[in-house]
């Protein structure tokens, strides 16, 4: 039994921010979930932002809000960029412009638009294999234990 409201604030903020940004101007070639079409790891997909901005970039966050999240930044040209997904799963795409810092580097990223998409794995068998193994341990173990309990009489 586990319940915590940690991160509640973060989720709420995301919802509030989301109301401004998730209006879906970004489109990704090959992403039509209703037709079972998702970008695939290692295969190039074209990302198009709704409205081109000077110096805009695409920030890709793999597994957002997780301990293993990682970010990739790509330069866009005329509102388009070719993106080759590096990892499967939920990915957050953000189009924005870097905020220049005092030291010459970037001090932040001004998000103009964002979209969450799912990326299909190129090796789904590994995930299924682990799923089956975990299921076998849990349900196999439970069945074995129940059999022993019932055999007591």
């Amino acid at each position: 039994m586990k319940l915590v409201s940690q991160g509640f604030l973060m989720v709420l903020l995301l919802f509030l921010l989301g109301s401004a940004t998730v209006l879906g101007q970004i489109s990704v070639e090959g992403f039509q979930p209703q037709k079972n079409l998702f970008p695939i790891v290692g295969k190039t997909a074209m990302v198009v932002s709704g409205k081109a901005h000077k110096g805009e970039r695409l920030r890709v966050t793999y597994r957002p809000q997780s301990a293993v999240s990682h970010v990739e930044i790509l330069n866009m040209q005329k509102g388009r960029v070719a993106w080759k997904p590096a990892a499967p799963g939920l990915v957050k795409l953000e189009v924005g412009v870097p905020i220049p810092g005092k030291a010459g580097g970037d001090s932040g990223f001004d998000v103009l638009d964002s979209k969450s998409i799912s990326v299909r794995s190129d090796r789904p068998a590994l995930g299924f294999g682990i799923m089956i193994l975990a299921g076998l341990i849990l349900f196999g173990g439970a069945a074995f234990s129940i059999r022993n309990l019932l055999a007591e009489g």
């Binding site: 597994r63 957002p64 809000q65 997780s66 301990a67 499967p88 794995s121 799923m131």
Partner: protein, 526 residues
Amino acid sequence: MSETRAQWKSKFGFILAASGSAIGLGNIVFFPANAYKYGGGAFYLPYFIALFLVGIPVMILEFGLGAWAKKSFPLAMRQAGGKAGEFAGWFAILNAAFITLYYVTILGWVVGMAGEALANPVNEIFMGKTKLAWGAGMQIPNPAGTFFAMISTWLPMAGVLFVWLLNGLLVSKGTKTIEAAVKIFVPLMWLTMIILIVRGVTLPGGMDGVSYLFSPDLNVLGRMDVWKGAMSQMFFTLSLGFGVMTAYASYLPKKSDHSHNAFTTSLLNCGFEWIAGVAIFSMLFALSIQPKASTLSMMFFIVPQGIAKLPMGAQAFAIGFFFLLLIAGLTSSISLVEALVAAMQDKFKLSRAKTLAFFGILGFLGSAAFALPKVIDPGLGSNGTLGLTLLDLMDHWAFSYGLLIVGLVECLVIGWGIGSHRIRDFINQNSKFHLGRWFDVLIKFLIPLLLAVILLMNIVQGEVLGGLYGSSAVTNYVPKGGILSSLPVIILFVWLLGTLGLAFLLTRAKGVDEVDAVCSEEGGMQ
């Protein structure tokens, strides 16, 4: 004064009750979110290690203790470790009582959301926006809007009352009513979850979501927080440290196979988490919705958002989802109430009806505090209402610290007090699976060490480096100097006084058995 202790009618009834207690709200939504957060399939390695190294051994210990002492947790702990043991036992029960209070509040909100889903089209309440009656008529996206609009009214109080009445009814005749309830609720939980799985995996891309959840990111295995997350998750998910499993096992015949009982309960609980992961993840992936490692967010925001986007039957699935949460929560909350009632009955030989009525009324008032709709944070910078703020603060202490402290102390009291070998010998008398000396090593050394490290890390990372929990969040929206700005400190003191202070008084109070013993000693001397 001797009376026959109630017993479960069947082994099956006990397994359903114990697994029903362990399977709660967290299994349905928190485990999938945690697995996502900590590297998907790779999380299963620390998770399984935690299951076999910590979860099952402590479950065996709690079952063994209850069946050996034939008493609820505080008195069983006294039998194992004297007055210090009893004090730790009362601390566990009182800490669990605090958790019960806000757990029932959350179930009250579940009832409220179920009511919303019954009365309104889901594409209105889980999509679009809701204009709040406060915050200058701020509009926020649903389902968050629906949720905050609901908890800022007095309506959820009716839900809280309803859940307390259900709890009272289901615990009224002890094992008899609990067993009858779990025989209906637990199979229904599994059935509802299976329906959700079928819906999830048949969505376009649903199976990819399943593969994704289990795909390993092995980089996480070198990270301390992932191992800590798995150990804590295991302790929480199995309902350890609440005193519940000991109370339930005290209603078993002494000649029961406690090893296999513990294996079955733990594996069924984790199996339920496994299928919940499949059901939730297939849906989130197919609909490209990001999960969050927070039970409340997953329950009230993320999953409803996904359900609203389902191509068919969204209304029915929304109602089914909240129904699933309600029955999963009820099978857990009745076990928490039973642990408290059984402890008071064992010590003071009070009647069940009076004990239940007293704690039911007190419980309702406590849960009502966590449902207080007063808006103290109109800009929604944090938790919005006073009730949710109190809940967040109390949850931090009672859940993140209380349960781990109980686990640590019970291992020390039993391991070094009575000696874990005595419980091991007792369990081995009737178990087909014999516990070796490794069990003593786990209970006396390894598990206490692991729990101590996690507690220390929580204190350093959570309170020392980050400041007292909630202080910065609360002061962001509450004017300094007022009583509300001191809430993080006040709640900490309430928790400490309510657990340590009351545990001290209850330990000092003479139980009926002790009074009887003193009387017979005096009689003997005369």
